[in-house]
Symmetry: C2
């Protein structure tokens, strides 16, 4: 197999697409590529499988992609569209001795432990409760033969990471679903990465997210081979906008699978 | 119109049906009536509209039923399958001056304010953030011409309410999705109610939920005219079990609409 098999579980912004109560053409569209659950990816390496983020749509995403096993869960940040499906992870620790390691930066871990306190305190645990093993991310860590490097980015007021996936010393994939700007260290780390998956909220600038044009420029400057945009609002019509992209830039959509 | 038009938004237990990783016949079933999102109802009276509970599936439930306006949100208790869609309520307070009143018992309100602190603190509010007006439920309250009476029930260790809906002095509807036992006051309050919607997790007893037989007995003793069971696990096969029910007892399913 390839180094990584990636499935885009969700490619939408915090309120998803369609948006409740929105009459725009994209929200009314029948094209499945215009239907976007909250952003998340499922990653399989030769040794392990993990997801990055578990938003409210996590259960439906697992059912759609028939995900039955996880070795780890990574979090980018603590916004609700990235964490509120946390408790549905209980189905991955069904056995009495089964646990699942979750990786998050200090602020996100604190928020998980506040919102889902019952899962962490080890008390009054009913059979079937989720049994997380929290690991606070303060630097690189490994999952099998993959080295994961946190990529700090600016995204409103919340402490936010992307992640770089390296194997055999090579930077193969970077996933940065929520960013307005990359920290200087992050710019260096994604230099020459084979595949970059990054926030491309919409055409026009936004105070806390990268626009399509800003992300394409980041990809060009970093010399990435393949660029996938994700985390779209309903202002982005896949059918109209995707064919107009440069050759090595593609829009992701829910269910898209790529090998890296 | 009738006094109440009820739509069952979801009729599943905490992990929904299908259950992630489950190979049972119900989880593998193609019957849409065996597909259960997390329990919730949408209620329309002649004056107002509200939902009871907002689990992680709330956004998909709103899209499915084209819900575009709410006057209030009621909560039964603080378990994740009843509250984790809370932030998707932001689409119901889009206008700068729009707010939405939420009703919950003290423990549930505290948990909402802990897990979704950013929505309550009024600070650093981005346009489009959910703007809740919290009202702690300590007794009956009104929505238009409807009087809502909290129905305390026993459900594991969590403080849990059902709700009784009265109009013109008549007890028309009681909704009790999560209970193992009713408090004596609650037993009196549902006496002779027209329609009772209640937890019917499965055939066999469960430590924190009513079984189908236990709920049918409660309905018979209370002399209710129509009994709808909800909050089913994957042990309940709609196709097999529904035809065998007594005449005035029915299984609810996602999308079922009834008038009371």
């Amino acid at each position: 197999m390839a180094d990584f098999e990636i499935t885009f579980l969700g490619t939408g912004t915090s309120i998803g697409v369609p948006v409740i109560g929105c009459d725009c053409p994209v929200c009314q569209s029948d094209d499945p590529k215009n239907k976007r659950s909250r952003s998340s990816i499922y990653v399989r390496s030769p040794e392990q499988a993990w997801v990055v983020d578990t938003g409210p749509d996590f259960r439906m995403q697992c059912l759609r992609e028939r995900i039955r096993h996880l070795d780890a869960v990574l979090y980018t940040h603590s916004h609700t569209d990235h964490i509120m499906g946390f408790d549905d992870l209980r189905r991955f620790t069904v056995g009495e001795d089964e646990e699942l390691t979750i990786y998050a930066n200090p602020q996100c871990m604190a928020q998980l432990q506040t919102a889902f306190e019952f899962a962490f305190n080890g008390q009054n645990r009913y059979p079937g409760y989720f049994k997380p093993v929290p690991v606070v991310v303060n630097g690189p860590f490994t999952l099998g033969e993959t080295r994961l490097v946190p990529l700090p980015v600016r995204h409103g007021k919340v402490e936010t990471n992307g992640y770089l996936f390296q194997r055999g010393g090579q930077s193969l994939l970077a996933y940065i679903p929520d960013a307005k700007e990359l920290e200087p260290d992050t710019v260096s780390l994604i230099e020459g990465v084979d595949t970059l998956i990054i926030d491309g909220l919409r055409e026009t600038p936004h105070p806390t997210h990268l626009s399509i044009g800003e992300s394409v420029e980041i990809g060009q400057k970093a010399g990435v081979r393949n660029l996938y945009l994700t985390h779209f609002s309903c202002e982005v019509d896949y059918t109209v906008a995707e064919p107009a992209l440069p050759e090595n830039v593609r829009f992701a959509y829910d269910g898209l699978k790529i090998s890296v």
